[in-house]
Protein backbone atom coordinates (compact mmCIF):
# COMPACT_ATOMS: atom_id res chain seq x y z
CA UNK A 1 0.00 0.00 0.00
CA UNK A 2 1.31 3.40 -0.88
CA UNK A 3 1.99 5.90 1.87
CA UNK A 4 0.25 9.28 1.75
CA UNK A 5 1.60 10.98 4.86
CA UNK A 6 4.68 10.15 6.93
CA UNK A 7 5.41 12.11 10.11
CA UNK A 8 8.89 11.86 11.58
CA UNK A 9 9.72 13.17 15.08
CA UNK A 10 7.04 15.77 14.67
CA UNK A 11 6.93 18.35 17.45
CA UNK A 12 4.09 20.87 17.57
CA UNK A 13 3.40 23.86 19.72
CA UNK A 14 3.35 27.60 20.04
CA UNK A 15 6.16 30.05 20.66
CA UNK A 16 5.68 29.75 24.39
CA UNK A 17 5.65 25.98 24.66
CA UNK A 18 5.47 22.53 23.16
CA UNK A 19 2.00 21.01 22.91
CA UNK A 20 2.97 17.56 21.74
CA UNK A 21 6.29 16.09 20.69
CA UNK A 22 7.97 13.18 18.93
CA UNK A 23 5.05 12.01 16.87
CA UNK A 24 5.97 9.19 14.49
CA UNK A 25 3.20 7.80 12.36
CA UNK A 26 2.12 7.31 8.78
CA UNK A 27 -1.08 7.01 6.78
CA UNK A 28 -1.41 4.82 3.69
CA UNK A 29 -4.10 4.76 1.04
CA UNK A 30 -7.23 3.13 2.44
CA UNK A 31 -6.23 3.39 6.10
CA UNK A 32 -8.70 4.33 8.79
CA UNK A 33 -6.65 6.06 11.48
CA UNK A 34 -8.21 7.12 14.76
CA UNK A 35 -6.40 9.74 16.79
CA UNK A 36 -7.19 9.32 20.48
CA UNK A 37 -6.23 11.59 23.33
CA UNK A 38 -7.55 13.65 26.17
CA UNK A 39 -8.49 17.31 25.86
CA UNK A 40 -5.32 19.36 25.61
CA UNK A 41 -3.26 16.42 24.38
CA UNK A 42 -2.51 18.21 21.11
CA UNK A 43 -5.15 16.68 18.84
CA UNK A 44 -6.41 19.95 17.43
CA UNK A 45 -2.87 21.25 16.97
CA UNK A 46 -2.07 18.09 15.05
CA UNK A 47 -5.11 18.65 12.83
CA UNK A 48 -3.94 22.17 12.03
CA UNK A 49 -0.48 20.89 11.20
CA UNK A 50 -1.84 18.20 8.88
CA UNK A 51 -3.99 20.79 7.10
CA UNK A 52 -0.93 22.95 6.59
CA UNK A 53 -2.29 25.77 8.74
CA UNK A 54 0.39 25.57 11.39
CA UNK A 55 4.11 25.03 10.88
CA UNK A 56 5.76 22.38 13.07
CA UNK A 57 8.41 23.34 15.62
CA UNK A 58 10.64 20.48 14.50
CA UNK A 59 10.49 17.18 12.70
CA UNK A 60 8.79 16.73 9.35
CA UNK A 61 5.52 15.93 7.67
CA UNK A 62 6.32 14.13 4.42
CA UNK A 63 3.72 14.17 1.66
CA UNK A 64 4.11 11.22 -0.71
CA UNK A 65 3.17 10.63 -4.34
CA UNK A 66 2.06 14.15 -5.11
CA UNK A 67 -0.34 14.07 -2.18
CA UNK A 68 -0.57 17.39 -0.32
CA UNK A 69 -2.41 19.12 2.49
CA UNK A 70 -4.88 20.43 -0.11
CA UNK A 71 -5.94 16.86 -0.93
CA UNK A 72 -7.42 16.43 2.53
CA UNK A 73 -11.17 16.88 2.81
CA UNK A 74 -11.81 18.43 6.19
CA UNK A 75 -14.89 18.02 8.37
CA UNK A 76 -14.51 20.62 11.11
CA UNK A 77 -16.53 20.77 14.29
CA UNK A 78 -19.74 22.75 13.92
CA UNK A 79 -19.65 26.37 14.95
CA UNK A 80 -22.51 28.35 16.54
CA UNK A 81 -22.60 30.56 13.42
CA UNK A 82 -23.67 27.61 11.27
CA UNK A 83 -26.69 26.60 13.34
CA UNK A 84 -28.82 29.47 12.10
CA UNK A 85 -27.12 30.10 8.78
CA UNK A 86 -29.46 30.70 5.84
CA UNK A 87 -27.94 28.55 3.11
CA UNK A 88 -29.28 25.75 0.96
CA UNK A 89 -27.64 22.32 1.08
CA UNK A 90 -26.50 22.67 -2.51
CA UNK A 91 -24.82 26.03 -1.88
CA UNK A 92 -22.83 24.52 0.97
CA UNK A 93 -21.77 21.39 -0.92
CA UNK A 94 -20.73 23.52 -3.91
CA UNK A 95 -18.45 25.59 -1.72
CA UNK A 96 -16.27 22.47 -1.35
CA UNK A 97 -15.25 22.94 -4.99
CA UNK A 98 -13.66 26.32 -4.26
CA UNK A 99 -10.33 24.79 -3.28
CA UNK A 100 -9.49 23.95 -6.88
CA UNK A 101 -10.62 27.20 -8.42
CA UNK A 102 -7.90 29.66 -7.59
CA UNK A 103 -9.01 33.13 -8.57
CA UNK A 104 -11.83 32.13 -10.94
CA UNK A 105 -15.01 33.59 -9.41
CA UNK A 106 -17.86 31.31 -10.55
CA UNK A 107 -18.61 27.59 -10.59
CA UNK A 108 -18.54 25.80 -13.94
CA UNK A 109 -20.85 22.98 -14.99
CA UNK A 110 -18.33 20.25 -14.10
CA UNK A 111 -18.19 21.51 -10.53
CA UNK A 112 -21.97 21.73 -10.29
CA UNK A 113 -22.17 18.13 -11.51
CA UNK A 114 -19.56 17.02 -8.99
CA UNK A 115 -21.56 18.63 -6.19
CA UNK A 116 -24.80 16.98 -7.38
CA UNK A 117 -23.03 13.61 -7.58
CA UNK A 118 -21.71 13.90 -4.04
CA UNK A 119 -25.15 14.95 -2.79
CA UNK A 120 -26.55 11.77 -4.36
CA UNK A 121 -23.71 9.61 -3.05
CA UNK A 122 -24.47 10.67 0.52
CA UNK A 123 -28.18 10.14 0.11
CA UNK A 124 -29.25 13.73 0.70
CA UNK A 125 -30.62 14.53 -2.77
CA UNK A 126 -34.11 14.97 -1.36
CA UNK A 127 -32.70 17.73 0.87
CA UNK A 128 -30.69 19.60 -1.78
CA UNK A 129 -32.98 22.63 -1.82
CA UNK A 130 -33.62 22.62 1.92
CA UNK A 131 -32.17 25.13 4.32
CA UNK A 132 -29.18 23.88 6.32
CA UNK A 133 -30.47 25.20 9.65
CA UNK A 134 -33.65 23.10 9.35
CA UNK A 135 -31.81 19.77 9.03
CA UNK A 136 -31.15 17.32 11.84
CA UNK A 137 -27.63 17.00 13.24
CA UNK A 138 -26.97 13.81 11.28
CA UNK A 139 -28.20 15.34 8.03
CA UNK A 140 -26.00 18.40 8.60
CA UNK A 141 -22.95 16.16 9.01
CA UNK A 142 -23.81 14.44 5.72
CA UNK A 143 -23.94 17.83 4.00
CA UNK A 144 -20.51 18.75 5.38
CA UNK A 145 -19.16 15.34 4.34
CA UNK A 146 -20.45 15.92 0.80
CA UNK A 147 -18.69 19.30 0.82
CA UNK A 148 -15.44 17.69 1.98
CA UNK A 149 -15.75 15.08 -0.79
CA UNK A 150 -16.04 17.88 -3.36
CA UNK A 151 -12.64 19.07 -2.20
CA UNK A 152 -10.97 15.66 -2.40
CA UNK A 153 -11.45 12.01 -3.25
CA UNK A 154 -8.34 10.81 -1.43
CA UNK A 155 -8.51 11.51 2.28
CA UNK A 156 -10.98 12.79 4.85
CA UNK A 157 -9.98 14.38 8.14
CA UNK A 158 -12.85 14.26 10.63
CA UNK A 159 -12.79 16.26 13.85
CA UNK A 160 -15.08 14.62 16.42
CA UNK A 161 -17.77 14.04 13.80
CA UNK A 162 -20.24 12.26 16.07
CA UNK A 163 -20.35 14.65 19.01
CA UNK A 164 -23.79 16.17 19.56
CA UNK A 165 -25.50 13.43 17.55
CA UNK A 166 -28.01 11.01 19.07
CA UNK A 167 -26.86 7.34 19.21
CA UNK A 168 -28.84 6.30 16.14
CA UNK A 169 -27.46 9.17 14.03
CA UNK A 170 -23.97 8.39 15.34
CA UNK A 171 -24.22 4.80 14.15
CA UNK A 172 -25.49 5.93 10.73
CA UNK A 173 -22.65 8.41 10.38
CA UNK A 174 -20.01 5.84 11.36
CA UNK A 175 -21.43 3.35 8.85
CA UNK A 176 -21.40 6.01 6.17
CA UNK A 177 -17.77 6.85 6.90
CA UNK A 178 -16.84 3.15 6.92
CA UNK A 179 -18.55 2.85 3.56
CA UNK A 180 -16.49 5.72 2.13
CA UNK A 181 -13.39 4.06 3.55
CA UNK A 182 -14.24 0.89 1.62
CA UNK A 183 -14.07 3.01 -1.53
CA UNK A 184 -10.35 3.54 -0.80
CA UNK A 185 -10.75 6.99 0.74
CA UNK A 186 -8.34 7.22 3.67
CA UNK A 187 -9.91 8.38 6.91
CA UNK A 188 -8.27 10.22 9.78
CA UNK A 189 -10.71 10.64 12.64
CA UNK A 190 -10.11 12.50 15.88
CA UNK A 191 -12.40 11.03 18.48
CA UNK A 192 -13.38 10.64 22.09
CA UNK A 193 -15.46 7.58 21.32
CA UNK A 194 -13.16 4.65 21.99
CA UNK A 195 -15.79 1.99 21.26
CA UNK A 196 -16.44 3.30 17.77
CA UNK A 197 -12.74 3.87 17.16
CA UNK A 198 -11.96 0.26 17.99
CA UNK A 199 -14.83 -0.98 15.87
CA UNK A 200 -14.00 0.88 12.66
CA UNK A 201 -10.33 1.90 12.69
CA UNK A 202 -7.48 -0.01 11.11
CA UNK A 203 -4.85 2.04 12.94
CA UNK A 204 -4.72 3.91 16.24
CA UNK A 205 -2.61 6.92 17.19
CA UNK A 206 -2.85 7.69 20.89
CA UNK A 207 -1.27 10.94 22.06
CA UNK A 208 -0.94 12.78 25.33
CA UNK A 209 1.70 15.53 25.15
CA UNK A 210 3.79 12.82 23.51
CA UNK A 211 3.02 9.76 21.48
CA UNK A 212 1.71 6.88 23.62
CA UNK A 213 0.97 4.45 20.83
CA UNK A 214 0.89 4.11 17.08
CA UNK A 215 0.10 0.90 15.27
CA UNK A 216 -2.65 -1.35 14.08
CA UNK A 217 -5.83 -1.77 16.05
CA UNK A 218 -5.06 -5.35 17.14
CA UNK A 219 -1.66 -4.33 18.48
CA UNK A 220 -3.33 -1.47 20.38
CA UNK A 221 -5.82 -3.76 22.06
CA UNK A 222 -2.94 -5.93 23.30
CA UNK A 223 -0.70 -3.04 24.34
CA UNK A 224 -0.46 -1.74 27.89
CA UNK A 225 -1.69 1.74 26.88
CA UNK A 226 -4.59 0.26 25.00
CA UNK A 227 -5.65 -2.08 27.77
CA UNK A 228 -5.54 0.68 30.36
CA UNK A 229 -7.82 2.91 28.33
CA UNK A 230 -10.18 0.26 27.10
CA UNK A 231 -10.85 -0.75 30.71
CA UNK A 232 -11.74 2.82 31.55
CA UNK A 233 -14.24 2.71 28.69
CA UNK A 234 -13.58 6.17 27.40
CA UNK A 235 -10.83 8.67 27.13
Amino acid sequence: MSKQIICNNLTLGYEDGVVTENLNFSVSTGDYLCILGENGSGKSTLIKALLGLKPQLSGEIKWCDGFSARDIGYLPQQTPVQRDFPASVREIVLSGCLSKKGFHPFYNSAEKKLADDKIKQLGIDSLARKCYRELSGGQQQRVLLARALCATSKMLLLDEPATALDPHAQLELYELIANLNRQRISIIMVSHDITASLKYATHILHISKKQLFFGTKSDYINSNTGRAFIEKGEI
Partner: protein, 278 residues
Amino acid sequence: MLATLEYYFSFPFVRYAFVVVILIALCSSLLGVPLVLKRFSFIGDGLSHVAFGAMAVAAVTGITNRTVIILPVTVISAVLILRTGQNTKIRGDASIAMISVGALATGYILMNLFPSSSNISADVCGSLFGSNSILTLKESDVWLCTIMAVIVLTVFVLFYNKIFSVTFDENFSKATGINSDGYNLVIAIITAIIIVLAMNLVGSLLISALIIFPALSAMRIFKSFRSVIICSAVISVICASSGIILSLLFSTPVGATIVVSDLAVFLVFSAVSVFAKK
Protein backbone atom coordinates in the same frame (compact mmCIF):
# COMPACT_ATOMS: atom_id res chain seq x y z
CA MET B 1 -49.08 64.72 -3.45
CA LEU B 2 -47.69 63.77 -6.84
CA ALA B 3 -47.45 67.42 -7.70
CA THR B 4 -45.41 68.10 -4.55
CA LEU B 5 -43.05 65.27 -5.45
CA GLU B 6 -42.76 66.47 -9.01
CA TYR B 7 -41.92 69.90 -7.70
CA TYR B 8 -39.18 68.54 -5.41
CA PHE B 9 -37.70 66.31 -8.09
CA SER B 10 -37.38 69.23 -10.48
CA PHE B 11 -34.41 70.30 -8.34
CA PRO B 12 -31.16 68.60 -9.34
CA PHE B 13 -29.96 68.30 -5.72
CA VAL B 14 -33.01 66.23 -4.82
CA ARG B 15 -32.34 63.90 -7.72
CA TYR B 16 -28.66 63.65 -6.69
CA ALA B 17 -29.65 62.80 -3.13
CA PHE B 18 -32.05 60.16 -4.41
CA VAL B 19 -29.37 58.44 -6.51
CA VAL B 20 -26.81 58.53 -3.69
CA VAL B 21 -29.26 57.17 -1.15
CA ILE B 22 -30.16 54.23 -3.37
CA LEU B 23 -26.54 53.37 -4.16
CA ILE B 24 -25.52 53.43 -0.50
CA ALA B 25 -28.57 51.44 0.57
CA LEU B 26 -27.76 48.81 -2.06
CA CYS B 27 -24.11 48.41 -1.05
CA SER B 28 -24.73 48.38 2.69
CA SER B 29 -27.49 45.79 2.42
CA LEU B 30 -25.24 43.39 0.47
CA LEU B 31 -22.46 43.62 3.02
CA GLY B 32 -24.94 43.41 5.87
CA VAL B 33 -25.65 39.73 5.22
CA PRO B 34 -22.11 38.43 5.87
CA LEU B 35 -21.57 40.94 8.68
CA VAL B 36 -24.71 39.88 10.55
CA LEU B 37 -23.94 36.20 10.02
CA LYS B 38 -20.38 36.63 11.26
CA ARG B 39 -21.74 38.28 14.41
CA PHE B 40 -20.25 41.61 13.40
CA SER B 41 -23.50 43.57 13.46
CA PHE B 42 -21.94 46.16 15.68
CA ILE B 43 -18.97 46.81 13.43
CA GLY B 44 -21.06 49.37 11.53
CA ASP B 45 -21.88 51.17 14.73
CA GLY B 46 -18.30 51.12 15.97
CA LEU B 47 -16.82 52.30 12.70
CA SER B 48 -19.31 55.09 12.28
CA HIS B 49 -18.34 56.49 15.68
CA VAL B 50 -14.72 56.32 14.60
CA ALA B 51 -15.70 58.21 11.47
CA PHE B 52 -17.41 60.80 13.68
CA GLY B 53 -14.22 61.23 15.70
CA ALA B 54 -12.17 61.52 12.53
CA MET B 55 -14.59 64.10 11.19
CA ALA B 56 -14.14 66.19 14.33
CA VAL B 57 -10.38 66.05 13.82
CA ALA B 58 -10.81 67.03 10.18
CA ALA B 59 -13.05 69.94 11.19
CA VAL B 60 -10.43 71.18 13.66
CA THR B 61 -7.65 71.07 11.07
CA GLY B 62 -9.87 73.09 8.77
CA ILE B 63 -9.32 70.91 5.71
CA THR B 64 -12.06 71.42 3.15
CA ASN B 65 -12.06 67.86 1.81
CA ARG B 66 -12.69 66.00 5.05
CA THR B 67 -12.88 62.57 3.41
CA VAL B 68 -9.08 62.63 3.08
CA ILE B 69 -8.83 62.20 6.85
CA ILE B 70 -12.04 60.31 7.62
CA LEU B 71 -11.61 57.50 5.10
CA PRO B 72 -8.10 56.29 6.02
CA VAL B 73 -8.78 56.51 9.77
CA THR B 74 -11.97 54.49 9.42
CA VAL B 75 -10.38 51.86 7.18
CA ILE B 76 -7.50 51.39 9.61
CA SER B 77 -9.92 51.03 12.54
CA ALA B 78 -11.90 48.44 10.58
CA VAL B 79 -8.76 46.40 10.03
CA LEU B 80 -7.83 46.69 13.70
CA ILE B 81 -11.27 45.64 14.91
CA LEU B 82 -11.29 42.53 12.73
CA ARG B 83 -7.74 41.68 13.80
CA THR B 84 -8.56 41.89 17.50
CA GLY B 85 -11.67 39.84 16.86
CA GLN B 86 -9.62 36.72 16.30
CA ASN B 87 -7.22 36.03 19.13
CA THR B 88 -6.23 38.68 21.56
CA LYS B 89 -6.91 39.49 25.16
CA ILE B 90 -9.70 41.91 24.26
CA ARG B 91 -12.45 40.03 22.41
CA GLY B 92 -14.28 41.28 19.33
CA ASP B 93 -17.35 42.83 20.93
CA ALA B 94 -15.35 44.55 23.67
CA SER B 95 -12.86 46.00 21.20
CA ILE B 96 -15.65 47.41 19.02
CA ALA B 97 -17.37 48.96 22.04
CA MET B 98 -14.09 50.39 23.28
CA ILE B 99 -13.03 51.93 19.98
CA SER B 100 -16.48 53.32 19.24
CA VAL B 101 -17.18 55.13 22.51
CA GLY B 102 -13.57 56.27 22.71
CA ALA B 103 -13.79 57.90 19.30
CA LEU B 104 -17.20 59.39 20.07
CA ALA B 105 -16.01 61.05 23.27
CA THR B 106 -12.78 62.32 21.70
CA GLY B 107 -14.68 63.72 18.73
CA TYR B 108 -17.19 65.52 20.93
CA ILE B 109 -14.47 67.08 23.10
CA LEU B 110 -12.59 68.27 20.02
CA MET B 111 -15.71 69.82 18.55
CA ASN B 112 -16.29 71.71 21.80
CA LEU B 113 -12.69 72.85 22.21
CA PHE B 114 -12.29 74.01 18.63
CA PRO B 115 -15.75 74.95 17.38
CA SER B 116 -15.81 75.33 13.61
CA SER B 117 -19.15 77.10 13.68
CA SER B 118 -21.15 78.96 16.32
CA ASN B 119 -23.78 76.23 16.63
CA ILE B 120 -22.00 73.17 18.03
CA SER B 121 -25.09 71.22 18.98
CA ALA B 122 -26.45 71.50 15.44
CA ASP B 123 -23.09 70.28 14.12
CA VAL B 124 -23.05 67.33 16.48
CA CYS B 125 -26.67 66.51 15.87
CA GLY B 126 -26.04 66.62 12.13
CA SER B 127 -23.18 64.20 12.26
CA LEU B 128 -24.97 61.83 14.61
CA PHE B 129 -28.37 61.72 12.96
CA GLY B 130 -27.61 62.72 9.39
CA SER B 131 -27.57 66.29 8.25
CA ASN B 132 -29.60 68.03 5.63
CA SER B 133 -26.34 68.31 3.74
CA ILE B 134 -27.61 65.24 1.91
CA LEU B 135 -29.71 67.81 0.06
CA THR B 136 -26.71 69.96 -0.77
CA LEU B 137 -24.82 67.30 -2.71
CA LYS B 138 -22.84 68.41 -5.71
CA GLU B 139 -22.59 66.51 -8.96
CA SER B 140 -19.03 65.49 -8.05
CA ASP B 141 -20.31 63.83 -4.85
CA VAL B 142 -22.72 61.79 -6.91
CA TRP B 143 -19.91 60.63 -9.17
CA LEU B 144 -17.69 59.71 -6.23
CA CYS B 145 -20.53 57.72 -4.75
CA THR B 146 -21.29 55.98 -8.04
CA ILE B 147 -17.66 54.95 -8.53
CA MET B 148 -17.45 53.61 -4.98
CA ALA B 149 -20.70 51.72 -5.42
CA VAL B 150 -19.50 50.16 -8.67
CA ILE B 151 -16.28 49.04 -6.97
CA VAL B 152 -18.16 47.55 -4.01
CA LEU B 153 -20.62 45.73 -6.27
CA THR B 154 -17.87 44.35 -8.51
CA VAL B 155 -15.83 43.08 -5.58
CA PHE B 156 -18.93 41.54 -4.06
CA VAL B 157 -19.97 39.72 -7.23
CA LEU B 158 -16.46 38.48 -8.05
CA PHE B 159 -15.83 37.19 -4.54
CA TYR B 160 -19.40 36.12 -3.84
CA ASN B 161 -18.67 32.37 -3.58
CA LYS B 162 -15.60 32.90 -1.44
CA ILE B 163 -17.39 35.33 0.84
CA PHE B 164 -20.07 32.67 1.27
CA SER B 165 -17.52 29.99 2.12
CA VAL B 166 -15.56 32.15 4.53
CA THR B 167 -18.74 33.34 6.26
CA PHE B 168 -20.21 29.86 6.60
CA ASP B 169 -17.12 28.03 7.75
CA GLU B 170 -13.83 29.81 8.24
CA ASN B 171 -11.97 26.67 9.34
CA PHE B 172 -12.98 24.68 6.29
CA SER B 173 -12.14 27.57 3.97
CA LYS B 174 -8.69 27.89 5.47
CA ALA B 175 -8.14 24.15 5.10
CA THR B 176 -9.01 24.29 1.40
CA GLY B 177 -6.51 27.06 0.87
CA ILE B 178 -8.80 30.07 0.73
CA ASN B 179 -7.15 33.11 2.22
CA SER B 180 -9.93 33.78 4.71
CA ASP B 181 -8.03 36.48 6.58
CA GLY B 182 -7.68 38.28 3.27
CA TYR B 183 -11.40 38.12 2.59
CA ASN B 184 -12.21 39.32 6.11
CA LEU B 185 -9.94 42.25 5.40
CA VAL B 186 -11.71 43.01 2.12
CA ILE B 187 -15.08 42.93 3.90
CA ALA B 188 -13.78 45.24 6.63
CA ILE B 189 -12.37 47.76 4.16
CA ILE B 190 -15.52 47.87 2.04
CA THR B 191 -17.60 48.29 5.20
CA ALA B 192 -15.46 51.24 6.22
CA ILE B 193 -15.83 52.86 2.79
CA ILE B 194 -19.60 52.50 2.83
CA ILE B 195 -19.84 53.93 6.32
CA VAL B 196 -17.87 57.00 5.38
CA LEU B 197 -20.07 57.50 2.32
CA ALA B 198 -23.24 57.00 4.33
CA MET B 199 -22.29 59.35 7.17
CA ASN B 200 -23.88 62.39 5.57
CA LEU B 201 -26.95 60.41 4.73
CA VAL B 202 -28.17 58.88 7.95
CA GLY B 203 -25.50 59.99 10.41
CA SER B 204 -23.21 57.97 12.65
CA LEU B 205 -25.84 56.67 15.02
CA LEU B 206 -28.20 55.28 12.42
CA ILE B 207 -25.75 53.75 9.94
CA SER B 208 -25.85 50.24 11.40
CA ALA B 209 -29.56 50.22 10.66
CA LEU B 210 -28.83 50.37 6.92
CA ILE B 211 -26.40 47.48 7.29
CA ILE B 212 -28.31 45.12 9.55
CA PHE B 213 -32.05 45.68 9.03
CA PRO B 214 -32.39 44.52 5.40
CA ALA B 215 -30.24 41.44 6.11
CA LEU B 216 -32.20 40.55 9.24
CA SER B 217 -35.53 41.01 7.46
CA ALA B 218 -34.46 38.81 4.55
CA MET B 219 -33.22 36.08 6.90
CA ARG B 220 -36.65 35.88 8.53
CA ILE B 221 -38.16 34.46 5.38
CA PHE B 222 -35.59 33.29 2.86
CA LYS B 223 -33.60 30.10 3.23
CA SER B 224 -30.72 30.16 0.80
CA PHE B 225 -27.77 32.52 0.90
CA ARG B 226 -28.40 33.82 -2.59
CA SER B 227 -32.08 34.57 -2.00
CA VAL B 228 -31.24 36.28 1.29
CA ILE B 229 -28.70 38.52 -0.46
CA ILE B 230 -31.07 39.44 -3.30
CA CYS B 231 -34.01 40.04 -0.98
CA SER B 232 -31.85 42.14 1.33
CA ALA B 233 -30.80 44.36 -1.58
CA VAL B 234 -34.37 44.76 -2.82
CA ILE B 235 -35.72 45.60 0.65
CA SER B 236 -32.98 48.12 1.22
CA VAL B 237 -33.49 49.95 -2.08
CA ILE B 238 -37.27 50.06 -1.61
CA CYS B 239 -36.99 51.31 1.97
CA ALA B 240 -34.42 53.92 1.03
CA SER B 241 -36.47 55.32 -1.82
CA SER B 242 -39.75 55.28 0.10
CA GLY B 243 -37.95 56.80 3.09
CA ILE B 244 -36.62 59.71 1.09
CA ILE B 245 -39.98 60.33 -0.60
CA LEU B 246 -41.81 60.27 2.73
CA SER B 247 -39.28 62.63 4.25
CA LEU B 248 -39.84 65.09 1.38
CA LEU B 249 -43.62 64.87 1.72
CA PHE B 250 -43.79 65.18 5.49
CA SER B 251 -40.60 67.21 6.07
CA THR B 252 -39.15 64.57 8.39
CA PRO B 253 -35.38 63.96 8.80
CA VAL B 254 -34.16 61.89 5.82
CA GLY B 255 -31.98 59.39 7.66
CA ALA B 256 -34.39 58.63 10.46
CA THR B 257 -37.27 58.17 8.01
CA ILE B 258 -35.29 55.60 6.02
CA VAL B 259 -34.37 53.71 9.18
CA VAL B 260 -37.96 53.68 10.39
CA SER B 261 -39.17 52.26 7.08
CA ASP B 262 -36.47 49.54 7.37
CA LEU B 263 -37.77 48.81 10.85
CA ALA B 264 -41.34 48.60 9.57
CA VAL B 265 -40.33 46.05 6.91
CA PHE B 266 -38.50 44.03 9.53
CA LEU B 267 -41.59 43.88 11.72
CA VAL B 268 -43.77 42.82 8.78
CA PHE B 269 -41.30 40.09 7.74
CA SER B 270 -41.04 38.83 11.32
CA ALA B 271 -44.81 38.59 11.57
CA VAL B 272 -44.97 36.75 8.24
CA SER B 273 -42.31 34.26 9.33
CA VAL B 274 -44.15 33.56 12.59
CA PHE B 275 -47.41 32.91 10.72
CA ALA B 276 -45.65 30.81 8.09
CA LYS B 277 -44.33 28.50 10.78
CA LYS B 278 -47.79 27.84 12.20
